[in-house]
């Protein structure tokens, strides 16, 4: 088995090479319910992280792996940069429910990768777009225990398409991340 190529930090200058046109707009081959996932990223001192790259991957509205659509880019995937306020925002569709090979039931969720200066390896996690009472059967929710609250987005009462989810890299209410 060959040695893997190690991960290294994305550094502060990734905007040069990694900007995608409309990277915040996730496309799918078919339609569904629009979702805006947005929030801010904070470091261990509570300061905003204004130089992060956030990517998301998810099932399509039908619960299946997104294939290739009509757009000249990949379906189901987003790439956004945080702004000076540490905010990211992704315009996507509600992922459908999935079932695992062992019969696991997965409530709607979005896979998230966070890259930044000071992160020698991307942080991986998932955010649930579901009420807290509806995620308990998920394998990640079980693994997270009481920390699952850091992985549940809050639906905006005034704008039901918008879901708020902040990320804390370190410190109080640190977001639960996944080993990889």
């Amino acid at each position: 088995m060959a040695i893997r190529t190690p991960s290294q930090t994305i550094g502060p200058f990734f905007h040069v090479g990694l900007k995608w046109e409309e990277g915040d707009k996730v496309t799918f081959a078919s339609g569904g319910d629009r979702v805006i996932l947005t929030g801010r990223i904070f470091d261990g001192a509570g300061s905003v992280v204004s130089d992060a790259l956030v990517e998301t991957w998810q099932a399509g509205p039908d619960g299946k792996v997104p294939g290739v659509g009509a757009e000249p880019r990949a379906c189901g995937y987003s790439r956004v940069f945080t702004d000076s306020d540490g905010r990211y925002s992704v315009d996507t569709l509600m992922p459908g429910p999935c079932a695992g090979p062992g019969g696991e039931k997965y409530p709607p969720q979005i896979h998230v990768l966070i890259f930044a200066r000071g992160l020698l390896k991307a942080l991986r996690t998932r955010v649930f777009l579901a009420a807290p009472g509806n995620v308990s059967g998920d394998p990640l929710a079980r693994a997270a225990g009481s920390r699952v609250s850091t992985l549940i987005a809050a639906r905006d009462p005034g704008q039901p398409a918008t879901w708020h989810w902040d990320v804390r890299l370190q410190g109080k209410d640190e977001t639960a991340f996944i080993e990889h």
């Binding site: 930090t9 200058f13 992280v49 099932a59 792996v65 880019r73 000071g118 370190q170 991340f177």
Partner: protein, 229 residues
Amino acid sequence: MSATDLADVDPPYDYPAYKSTALRAPKQVMLRVVPHPVEFFGPVFPDRFVKSAEADLTAWGKSAPLGEKMILVGRVTDEDGTPVRNSLVELWQCNASGRYAHPVDQHDAPLDPNFLGQGKVLTGEAGEYRFVTVKPGAYPWRNHPWAWRPAHIHLSLFGNAYAQRLVTQLFFPGDPLLDIDPVFNSVPDPQARQRMVCTLDLESGVEEVALGYRFDIVLRGAKSTPMGL
């Protein structure tokens, strides 16, 4: 693969020699969980996502950029040696003087109007890729006294599965700055560290025009899972 292998190949999040990790490295234990079904697959980038001109970083301006022209070739495979085909590879770098075409970079070295420092390609049937660029310069940074980053090229890879996503850096053989670079040295295993150093590959260059360098990249297996799951 053992848990030790996993820990040894990638750097730790908390690495005090690299100052920016101090407030950004999570302190809580990472969760171990079976992959979600969509993680065994990844985004599929259609051919039209990449223009053929994006493989040549030296043809972007009105004339050739300054610096040592180089051809970067390599193959992307997974840990079992399987070629990673038709997968997106993105590249970004500073110019030959050590300056990024980026507003945040205030290093007092000249910008090159003919060099933007960004490229992308899709790998071929054998996992192969090829870029034409110039060798990036070293540059100072404020991590510690006399800190200079060794010449490096940033690479972003998707593989064919979400689990394979990798961002790394390529370094050059024989660079004396490697010894003092906390980013390079954050990788604990010296053999794994050498995986990030390209090799001179004259015949992949162009005779009397450009030096060739080879950088083969190994991604984790598309179906690999954290140990014990």
